[in-house]
């Protein structure tokens, strides 16, 4: 499956040098699997806990080592890129030149399908990259098996199709049609009509959460749970019509690009966007997320393509150029398509400084509608106004696949098993957040201080309760009304006391703080140098 190995001549492989220390490599991998440093045990006072944690750390270390070793043996294939020699430039290498060098199997991935009547076409791959769904604007829907290039099913729905998307496996796909979103199975049978979505312009499927997300003509964002069918979220973006939508594969946050140049990020449990950022001065035309979730590429009508660091929400790189569609490959190549021209960018140095890697221009008049890298393959699929094409982009796909994650050669039994398993592991929608690694951490519930009135009411209630308590009848002599009254008053005072104490404490704290600040402020500037410095 990795054509990278076959492309010997032009594609010189970037092999690990023999001198490279294996243990170094292993250490790096171990570090990756350790997922960060352990907290220092030094400041822990509990000896038992310290011991337990150190045992745990040891276990983690062993596990990481085992994982690193397993990776070494189980993922033997290395990805490779085009490398230019001398004056050569990688982007001058044409597809024809590549075609001469690759084997037959990979040669089959270079093709153009010309369907001029029902275009422009949009595409979607299953997560294993085996199947592709195509949707022609004029109502042409189809599923293609990409290994043997078989057309599995082809239907004509006889109305506008704006987007197609596979659901959790190749058996089902959804199409955004003229008025509603429809779900079809592999045989082309319409299973559901999802009316709530309305005239959706773009569809996305969140495969870990089994959510189908869509944005419609009115800028409404819908989330629908496809297992139970309930609408999980329905939000008005309030930013107008848009067909720029992409899911961040890392945290399942949906990004939308808007006409105002803003990009918003959404989760199904909040009506307000998690993040709203102004990315471009013109309308946003395309949006893509890097598989690791930290990088976002946006293209605007202001002739800029920007790369954003999503951890800091700052632009990393600004390139000039238009793009109607953007896509990141598994290895992090960025494909931009505009008009009939495709450009692939790559960060050669690994510092997220993208530069031109490959280009491809289609026949004139073809309008590229959609670019999609095929998972686990070095293939870029292009949906355009005259059908769809496929070109080779060396180094695009992940060379090793994990059959537990995505198996291109899945049998039906495996598929069924996986379906059940993934359903069991389905994540609830509230797990979608900007930083999912925060799940399970301590977050004390933010409790606002009770207002004055609330506090008073509380005190009053407590006093009432104290008043209401019935006193026991004591023996003769100890049952005087005076004593009873005294007792009641005592009880009330006792009840009030904690509140008063609390109040006093608070006041003291405030006054203390204020005094401190005032001390700092009070000193005139000329005298400040004489002030005693704070002991740190």
């Amino acid at each position: 499956m990795d054509e990278a190995q076959d492309n010997h001549a032009i594609i010189t492989k970037k092999k690990p040098s023999a001198n490279q220390d294996i243990s170094d490599e292993l250490d790096l991998k171990i570090k990756k699997y350790l997922r960060g440093e352990a907290a220092s045990f030094e400041d822990l006072k509990d000896r038992k806990l310290k011991r337990q944690l150190s045992v745990r750390e040891e276990l983690y270390g062993n596990a990481a080592k085992a994982a690193a070793k397993a990776e070494k043996w189980l993922m033997p294939n290395e990805g490779g890129y085009l490398e230019a020699e001398g004056i050569e430039k990688t982007w001058r290498i044409k597809q024809e030149a590549i075609a001469k060098e690759v084997g037959l199997v990979n040669l089959r991935n270079q093709y153009d399908i010309v369907l001029p009547d029902l275009g422009p076409y949009t595409l979607d791959f299953t997560s294993s990259g085996r199947y592709m769904a195509v949707g022609g604007r004029k109502g042409h829907l189809g599923i293609v098996d990409m290994i043997n290039l078989n057309l599995i099913k082809e239907i004509q729905v006889a109305e506008t199709v704006r987007d197609v998307v596979f659901l959790h496996n190749e058996l089902f796909f959804a199409a955004a049609q003229k008025k509603f979103v429809y779900m079809y199975n592999r045989d082309g049978t319409e299973i559901r009509c999802l009316r709530e979505h309305g005239a959706a312009l773009k569809l996305q499927f969140l495969k870990n959460h089994f959510l189908l997300a869509s944005v419609n003509k009115f800028g409404q964002l819908h989330y629908q749970d496809i297992t139970m069918g309930e609408i999980v979220g329905n939000f008005r973006t309030g930013l107008g019509r848009t067909n720029v939508m992409q899911v961040n594969p890392f945290n399942a946050v949906v990004g939308l690009g808007h006409a105002g140049g803003t990009v918003t990020m959404w989760k199904p449990t909040s009506s307000a966007p998690l993040v709203k950022m102004l990315c471009h001065h013109g309308p946003v035309s395309a949006l893509a997320f890097h598989p690791n979730g930290h990088l976002m590429a946006t293209a605007g009508k202001d002739k800029r393509i920007k790369l954003w660091d999503l951890r800091k929400f700052e632009p990393l790189q600004t390139l000039t150029g238009h793009a109607n569609t953007l896509d990141f490959s598994q290895k992090g190549l960025l494909a931009c398509g505009v008009g009939s021209f495709v450009q692939v960018l790559n960060d050669v140095s690994g510092t997220q400084n993208y530069s031109k890697y490959m280009t491809h221009s289609m026949a004139k008049g073809y309008q590229i509608g959609r670019l999609a890298f095929r998972p686990y393959e070095d293939v870029l699929a292009i949906g355009h106004s005259m059908g769809w094409s496929s070109i080779l982009i060396p180094g695009a796909g992940e060379p090793n696949f994990d059959t537990w994650v995505a198996n291109p050669f899945e049998t039906s039994k495996q598929r069924r098993e996986k379906e059940v398993r993934s359903l069991l592991d389905k994540l609830p929608p509230e797990t979608i957040m900007l930083d999912p690694s925060k799940i399970g951490t301590v977050k004390s519930t933010y409790r606002e201080k009770p207002t004055k009135q609330e506090r008073e009411a509380e005190v009053e209630a407590a006093v009432e309760a104290a008043k209401g308590t019935k006193l026991k009848n004591k023996t003769k002599g100890r049952n005087k009304p005076g004593k009873k009254i005294q007792k009641k008053q005592d009880a009330i005072a006792r009840v009030k006391r904690p509140y008063l104490e609390e109040k006093i404490n608070e006041e003291q704290k405030i006054s203390h703080k204020k005094q401190k600040t005032s001390e700092n402020i009070d000193l005139p500037k000329s005298l400040q140098r004489f002030a005693r410095k704070k002991s740190s």
Partner: protein
Amino acid sequence: MPVTKRKHRDETSHRRGHSKPSRNAKKKKKTGPRLPSSLQKQLERLNPTVPIESDQDIDSADGDAAERDLLPHDFYEYEEQRAEEESKKNKRYDPGSVDNLQLPIDRSDESEDESIQSDDDNEDDDDDDGLKRTGGAADDDSSEEGDGRHTRMLQGITGMPSEAFEGKKKRKMKDDVIPELYPESEYNPSRDVVDGDGQISIDDLLNPLQDNPGFGKLRKRIQQIENNSKPIHAPLRTADQAKVERKVAYEISKKEVTKWQQIIQRNREAPTLLFDENVDLGFSTVGAIASEFEPRTEFERKMAALVSDDKVMEAHKKDGSRLLEMNMVSVEEEKDRQSRIAKMRSLLFRHEMKAKRLKKIKSKTYHRLLKKDRLKTEASKIQMDPEAAKEFAMKQERLRAEERMTLKHKNQNRWAKRILTRGLNSQDEGTRAAIAEQLQRHAELTRKMHSMKDSSSSSSDDSSDEDAGDSGSDQDMASKVLRKAIEKTKKVIEEDNETPKSGLLSLPFMRRGLEKRKEAVVEEANLAIQEYKDSKNKLENSVGSEDPETTSISGRRVFGASKTHISDAGNKVKSDYNYGSSDSEDDIRASKNGNIETGGSNILQKDVNSDSVLIQEDTDNHQESVFKDFNEIVKNPGPKTTYEVSLFVSDTWKKAKNRNEGGTNGKKSAIAAGPVRQDIKDTVKEAEEDSDTDSSGQMVDGILTAGSNLSYELPSQEELIRQAFAGDDVEDEFDKYKMEILNEENPEPEKPVLLPGWGQWTHVQKKKGLPSWMLKEHENAQKKREEAIKKRKDARLKNVIISEKINKKAEKLHTKALPFPFTSKEAFEQSMRVPIGPEFNPATAIGPLTRPEYLGVQYNECSDVFSELKKEEPYTKRNIRGGDREDRLLRLLRLLRPSSASVSGFLCNGRLVVCCPSHPPLCAGLLWFVLFGDLRRFSIQAVAVPRGEAPRLTSPRRTVPSLVAPGLPSPQYGGCGFLMEKADIYSFGVLILVIVSGRRPLHVLASPMKLEKANLISWCRHLAQAGNILELVDEKLKEHYNKDQASLCINLALACLQKIPGFERGDGS
């Protein structure tokens, strides 16, 4: 002294007669001084007798060293003897007579006449009573008669007992020569013995036995005792003794417990605990220990020989009839034993009951003693500990305050009034005493008060005194005096004005009270001043001359000025404080100040009407000008000064004062409007500040808007162009939107709004603007908002809005608090960072990562029940119904079986006893399930015997109250605070008895049963001894039980209930 002397004599005689070893000398060693060897040698030279003695001693058992030790003592003794014998009694000192002295009784009788001359045994004539010694001695001796009289005289004068003077006399008596009639013997004790001074030593008793056979042995023994003798102390108090015992017991038990420490620590730190059948627990059962027992001592060997006697063993092996024969007990013996046991039992029971009762009783004496103890400790504490002393002082203070508050001593309360109306005479003694006490207290307090007052000099008293004084003097003097008086009164008032800022007196109600009182005082003072003035005016009129100094104005001026100073200070403090304090405090302070000042102004108005008008004018002027323009004031203070100059031409100093005063007055009236200083500079400054605060809201706004503006860098040409061609102003729009979002998520505080005319006249409001507290509040809110905005994640990001909304649904994905052992968030989160699921880890790593805390066998097949269970098919709901009773029980047992505890159980009477002792290192304790007969009700009782920590009671349907009864823990092991295996065995025995009999271990009060039956254990023992164990079995069972099984169970229980530890069997056997 006489004792030692006599001893020495004895000793010498012994030595000569029988060459006795020097035990007495040794004994004396303790009393004599120790001398260096050189001195000793010298002594040897000087004193030839000593070496002779020691020579004689050489043959004795003691070595040289002992001899050397002897020397100084001998010398010590020797000197004394010398002093007595040689100086006074040398004539009568006759070694022969001493020999006679030591003769046995029969001979001493013979030599009575000889021994007449023997030394100081002069008291034998009155051998009957030693108590009358002194009197007798005085009567006997004419020489001593004078002494006696003298003593009596002394007694009469000093009132001290005659013994105090005895010493002298005795010495005299010793010095006197009194002939002795009888030799000293046990029948005829020496005088000092009879006197009570001397002690009868063992020697005294021994000497007469000298010739008896066995004397040598006796002597040796005594010598031994004396050699090893140590002083025996008086026994400790029982409480102390118990304390010591407890301490020791604690130490021992601690040591016992620390044995386990290693194991516990190991288990604590182990990531996984393994409970295996074959785990070596590190300690064996009682049976194992017993089997390893080997007789060592003679007694043990004898016992072993008896126990493992061939005959007995054989008898054991056989049917046991032989054993019975061997164990033949006579009827009397048996009866005797039974009666003894019965007695013991009843005693035990009585003791139990008594202890119970005693435990409840807390008598008056107990409380009295308790109180006494407490008081004593407190008193000692106060003396020792300064802290406690302080506390005590505080307490006293509090008592005093209480007294002052309640004024109980004043006889004003209802009770006192009623008693007084009824008349004291009609009351009983206690009441009268109480009233008397109150009166006394009152008197005391008033006395105290007067003394206090005198020192602090009250104004009215003073003035009245002065008045009285000046009535007679001439007028000049009078006026002076009056002036003085006025000044003094004013001073007093001023002094009063200083209000305390802390402590009890600063409490609001106290302050109010003080203020009221102060007002009263001020009024009084005013009246007094008025009076003085009147009288002075009269005086002045009479004189006709006017003193410029003594004008009331000046006086008032002075007063006013100083007053303003004080109030100024107060105000300054206040205004300073304003910035650091909450508004409410500020208000209180302000109002208080106002009160004080109004008091002051009252005086002013009363005193000087014309002047007050002037001042009013002045202040009005000032005030207005202040609010018009501060600069103006700065510019033209001139006219005002001139205005004032026209009034007070004399000195400029007063002008300044006056102006000051005006200022303060103005401030006084304007106090609510905000701090305005009398000093113009200050006011200007203040005004600036005010304006600051006024504009601060806008300023804050400015900052806020400028926040984004500031982050703008100067746009470059390119950017400008780009912006120009961008079509629409997206950035501005975005900024606006961000502001909106910020406002939404951190709402801006409302601007302070004042209702026109609310609380004040509109024109005043317009002048003063908003009250300061409102501004302050607004400012605070603004600040808070700013901080919140600064803390936002997107605070530094220009074109990004990150929502800060909290998602309540996602809250369940976070832990709310740190889990127990963790103390830092960081440590916890770091420990959770690595996923442990099979998706994320290679198969080899998952096992150790997810290994459970406990691993172990499911159950222990220690009894047949479980082998049966094993054969059976797994429990289902269907098959619990079928089968006979026992089968059902088994199935139920299966249902109950806890997962990780080894379980053993047996059937008893159709009742199932299951015991699941958990692993001892876990310290979880034994868990017992006892199932009572009726299965349909599923009534299950769990009995838990705690070991270390609380047991976990589990039953399939509900938690049943535990049956832990007072009789459960074993007396041998229960007392030490923690329970061990043996205690469990004991408890197990009790439990079996409980099950079989269906009664509680101690079932006394609730039933009219025989007392014998009250204690289940003793009853069972009793029955066992009587031989009818089956009487113990629950009566409700009637005859429907297996008698063999029942007796087996009871026997097992009895085996567990052995009183002597080590004989009970392990519960497995």
